[in-house]
Symmetry: C2
């Protein structure tokens, strides 16, 4: 964010503090925030205090901090995400009603699958995904779709950076993943079983924008024991095509334009 050669500006420090909350990993106390943000304790103390006073952060009685509702509300106005969400929601509802599985929508961001919406019901299998979560591309169905259709240099860079193991079934061999992604491009859908979460299987397909580029991935996550791709794929494909038409007609300036830069 800031040039390494010179100290970050105050705005840079404020962003570094807020970035310390981006992963959602635990609820940090002041020293943990300063460690993540790379700030001296005195500076962090002053700025965190200002952010609490402004409602951007909230102090919990146990001395930890969390993102405040005010910042949530500002963030919820991000049109690249919310525009896509608004278009997708009716189609995702239709899909949920047809399957009762987890219905997820992800975009490619910073080399990960950023989940911008997720529906689930009382009967859906528990999954790691939450709205705002950024999961690895090579271990999730939605991620494999985004990776398979990413420009080749982006795809190769992500593969070369290393494929972390998330379960015993994660594909960690680059060539095996390349073959798997080639299959995704050929068939138009990705399937994962137990590759991110044991017990969960996913099927994912691309959502296209007006230029035919892949703007997002729509996926269903079901129990891997009972997941039947032949049953899940027809409603998933139907919903993704309906959403693609809406995206092509109504959506401008979303992640598609920023995808290559951000990936």
């Amino acid at each position: 964010m800031a040039d390494r050669a010179r100290p970050p500006s105050v705005a840079g420090k404020v962003m570094a503090i807020l970035d310390a909350f981006a992963t959602g990993a635990g609820r940090p106390n002041l020293s943990e925030i300063c460690r993540r943000a790379g700030l001296p304790l005195a500076t962090g103390h002053r700025l965190v205090g200002e952010l609490v006073a402004g409602g951007f952060l909230e102090r919990v009685p146990d001395g930890t901090y969390r993102i405040g509702t005010r910042l949530w509300r500002i963030g919820s106005q991000a049109p690249a995400v919310t525009g896509l969400r608004e278009l997708a929601l009716p189609h995702m509802e239709d899909l949920y009603e047809a399957t009762h599985d987890n219905v997820q929508l992800a975009v490619l961001r910073d080399g990960r699958a950023l989940f911008v919406e997720r529906l689930r019901g009382t009967r859906s299998v528990p999954v790691l995904t939450q709205v705002g979560a950024a999961l690895p591309l090579h271990a999730t169905g939605a991620g494999k779709v985004l990776l398979a259709f990413a420009p080749e240099p982006v795809r190769e860079r992500i593969i070369e950076e290393g494929l972390a193991r998330h379960s015993a079934r994660t594909i960690t061999d680059p060539d095996e993943l390349r073959r798997s992604l080639e299959r995704v491009r050929r068939t138009g859908h990705a399937v994962t079983r137990d590759e991110m979460t044991l017990g969960a299987a996913s099927v994912a397909v691309p959502v296209h924008d007006a230029d035919g580029a892949v703007a997002a991935a729509l996926s269903l996550v079901a129990r891997s024991r009972s997941a039947d791709v032949r049953r899940l794929l027809p409603p998933l494909t139907t919903a993704a095509r309906a959403l693609s038409r809406d995206v092509a007609a109504h959506w401008r300036g979303g992640p598609s334009a920023q995808r290559n830069a951000g990936a």
Copy 2:
């Protein structure tokens, strides 16, 4: 946010700039951002540039700015909102499936009904509500529930501040609203017809936390011509009770604790 007697700090200026996007009203250019934030153009130009470089804001080719996906992601980690959303989602799905109307969840924030989740389908009536929208308490079903069960000083302050007209049917007379809220407390539900949006009717009920306080309002919004309260109320009440049990069992430190301060 900042003491009027002294100039705001840089962190205060950064928050003022981001706050300029909170309402979601249009996509401001630089001078509009500076006007809303109360900053000189040179200062605003520098800070906006830093926020764009950090991915907190995005510059659109036409010279306007919008909230960036990075800030959306940080905001999406706000536990006061997302914890409630995660608990509510399965119950809201059940309710959507039973009614196919708009299903909405709101909390009381800064004297308005802040909508933290909303489901809708292809058959639902179009409404103003979006996730992150803050609508007037006196003109929405969810808002009337939140206002009816708010502490009396909070309720009276909001009524005294004036009841803006949003449609020909909005209740703008304080005494008429007080009687309407008394009815909400007696019956346990609120009904509005065409009071915010012509053509839309809503039914809303409270969601209770472990202390029996009203933590949120759950509502259905349907076409006012066909909305049948006797049909909508049973599934709505059932879902709100199921959600209240989950909130009582699993939810700590949500808006309930901050409600009085924030309202």
